[in-house]
Amino acid sequence: MDFTLTDEQQLLVDTLRTVLANECPPSLLREHHDCRGAHAPLWEHLRGFAELGRGDATDACLVFDELGYAAAPGPFFASVGLFAGLLEAIDADSALRDAVAAGEVVGTVAAADSQGIWHANDDLVKTFIPDADLAQLIAVVSATDDAMFVTILPHPGPSALAEIETVDPSRKYFRWDTGDEIGAAIPCTPMQWRAFLDRSFALASAETLGAARRCFSMALEYAKEREQFDRPIGSFQAIQHKLAEMSLLVERATAALHYAAMAIDADHADRTSACHVAKAAAGVAARRCLKDSIQIHGGIGYTWEHDLHLFLRRATVAETQFGTTSWHHDRLADVLFA
């Protein structure tokens, strides 16, 4: 049992932080609001990390935490997080897996049902397909009463997909009425589906947590700088206790995430439960941090001009995706009351 980062993991985190600090400043996020192509130079850097899509969950979680912290736009989450994870889970064609791992092919996953729930379903309407407009391939997951399938299709063209607009322009989500278009399919066993879901929930937790951590650290920094009544507002106990509670939630969710990632890599018996815990804990941290980071910033945090909202948006949407906090609590309750 070891929660410390290896030297290689620390190097990975440090390298990525440098890339993101240089290539993904708040100005890029603002530019991306108006120009969807603005993420392209960033992707040129991030595709070098695409191999992580088929690597250890521990490494991948560290990376997605940093990407959430930067609210990085682009197809990395859809392709390296979801698409690669699904291809690995179902042991798909190795040439395709290699191309995705090299960042040469970009894909996304259509699995959530028409209500936005990530579970096995036979819905012909799939929702919340992340960044489908940036993908060449879409993996559609479908289910019958007793079997599941994955169909990998070329992007059907912009008119086939409708955007589900959210408050966060750094990532787009789409809805696709697949109709009868689904053809030949690769079978997906319940165990493979579970492996894909667990990993996806863990990576989504990492992104959610990263966004929460960003809101928290901006509030902490502001509390040290901003002076009222001739002293930093961070010297007031009311502010200190808010930040202490926020940091507790961030630390607790971080530990839960690292545990879940290790449980995935070890194929531990409570892997699934640990991933539900991780996403719920990240969701709780995100909600608290986004609300209190605004509160601590006061009026300035409520303005478009201030950068806080760029990250607050990512935190808000991330909590709702890949299972809301309540949804994951319900899944845990199913286990507890079984």
């Binding site: 049992m1 070891d2 929660f3 410390t4 980062l5 290896t6 993991q9 521990t58 902490l220 509390a223 040290k224 002293r231 930093p232 961070g234 010297s235 007031f236 106990q237 502010i239 200190q240 206790h241 930040l243 202490a244 509670e245 940091s247 507790l248 630390e251 607790r252 969710a253 971080t254 530990a255 839960a256 690292h258 545990y259 990632a261 290790m262 449980a263 890599d265 070890a266 531990h268 439960s273 640990a274 539900h276 815990v277 991780a278 719920a280 804990a281 709780v284 309540s326 994951h328 609590h329 319900d330 845990l332 309750a333 507890l336 009351f337």
Partner: protein
């Protein structure tokens, strides 16, 4: 990062479990979960014998060498040890001040003669109490007023301590006193070892809201303490208060989390008993408790290594605050599930509720102590804000 335990660690666990299988006294498994923040007014004979057995077999403080009741095990193994005890709900001892606070402080700060008192403190042969809080020095411990004035070969001690666990049965007191009233408050405190038989000491049990007398007030009137009983530097006692509080906090999380996990299981049973197991609000509330308990366990693991290697980990302030607050909320949820019988104590309640009547409200009351004792939640938040997050003091 990795999850599995090494072969050596699994072998360690095997040895521990074999020992527990062979030696655990039957009474130990019938104790309602041990580890309350306060101490009892009596120490059962079987528990004293059990603590001595643990010491003699190197299972009392496994990270210490054999002469101190251990086996020089690694930090990770210490955690395995604490977890196995908590999982089986087996107590190590009830009187924690001696092994958890006094012995580590004596070993770190005491002279040779004082260090020699540590083994008996750990084995439980000597019962210790710790004189810290006073009526006007609670969270603001540094404002303590119990005075010690040098008079030849002795200090003459006058003052009052309060919330002193085990004072009724203790032979020795690890007592913080003011030796320089003119110095800034943190710089005029010293630590004395006071024999509880010394004339001038009066102990009055202090009954708390549950009706039990788990603590005492201790009054000192012209108590003469040999100068040789000074631990560490004269006026250097504040550093030692920091040490003992760190020891106290560091060991609490495993029990605290295990208790929380047990409470979650009990809440599931209670929800079924009162027919609320299909209520989605109830299910979510209990699942949220489970989420907190599980993630706190992970946070505890994350912080443990740094503590066990001798440095204090910030995780422990988080653990203390979060597990005690979550415990309080969990017991409150149990009361909620009992509806109008939530605050009933037994007589006249439906027999179908069985042992659950009264149990939740009592635990709820007991849990108040956990967010106050050993550094209140508010103090923990101050510590996190100032020492971990680097926010300026007011």
């Amino acid at each position: 990062m990795k999850l599995d335990w090494s072969e050596t660690d699994e072998r360690f666990r095997g040895e521990l479990l074999a020992f527990l299988e062979a030696k655990t006294p039957p009474e130990a498994t019938r104790v309602d979960f041990p580890g309350n923040a306060s101490g009892g007014d009596a120490i059962p004979a079987w528990l004293r014998a059990w603590q001595a057995t643990l010491f003699d077999h190197g299972w009392m403080i496994p990270g210490y060498p054999p002469e101190l009741g251990g086996r020089n095990c690694t930090p990770t193994q210490t955690m395995i040890y604490l977890e196995e005890f908590a999982r089986r709900r087996i107590p190590r001892a009830t009187h924690f001040p001696g092994y958890a606070i006094v012995a580590p402080s004596l070993l770190e700060f005491g002279n040779e003669q004082q260090r020699s008192l540590a083994p008996a403190a750990i084995r439980g042969d000597t019962v210790w109490c710790v004189g810290m809080s006073e009526p006007n020095a609670g969270s603001d411990l540094a404002s303590l007023r119990t005075r010690a004035v040098r008079d030849g070969d002795v200090f003459v001690v006058n003052g009052q301590k309060v919330w002193t666990s085990y004072a009724m049965v203790a032979q020795q007191c690890f007592c913080y006193v003011r030796t320089d009233p003119d110095a800034p408050k943190h710089k005029g405190i010293s630590l004395l070892i006071i024999d509880m038989d010394t004339p001038g000491i009066e102990v009055r049990p202090l009954t708390h809201i549950t009706g039990h007398a788990d603590f005492a007030e201790v009054f000192f009137t012209d108590v003469k303490v040999p100068v040789a009983n000074l631990v560490g530097e004269l006026n250097g006692g504040w550093a030692l208060t920091q040490g003992s509080l760190a020891h106290e906090r560091a060991g609490l999380w495993v029990d605290g989390v295990a208790r929380l996990e047990q409470t979650v299981r009990d809440l599931v049973d209670l929800a079924k008993l009162v027919g609320r197991h299909d209520d989605s609000g109830v299910r979510r509330a209990i699942a949220s408790m489970f989420e907190q308990a599980s993630s706190l366990r992970s946070l505890g693991y994350k912080g443990f290594a740094s503590y066990a290697q001798g440095s204090s980990a910030p995780e422990h302030s988080y653990m203390k605050m979060a597990s005690s607050e979550a415990g309080k909320a969990a017991f409150e949820l149990g009361m909620e599930l009992l509806g109008p019988f939530g605050a009933a104590t037994g007589a006249g309640s439906p027999t179908t509720l069985g042992d659950d009547t009264g149990r939740w409200v009592t635990s709820f009351y007991v849990s108040f102590a956990n967010t106050i004792a050993g550094g209140s939640s508010e103090i923990q938040r101050n510590i996190i804000a100032q020492r971990v997050l680097g926010l300026p003091r007011a």
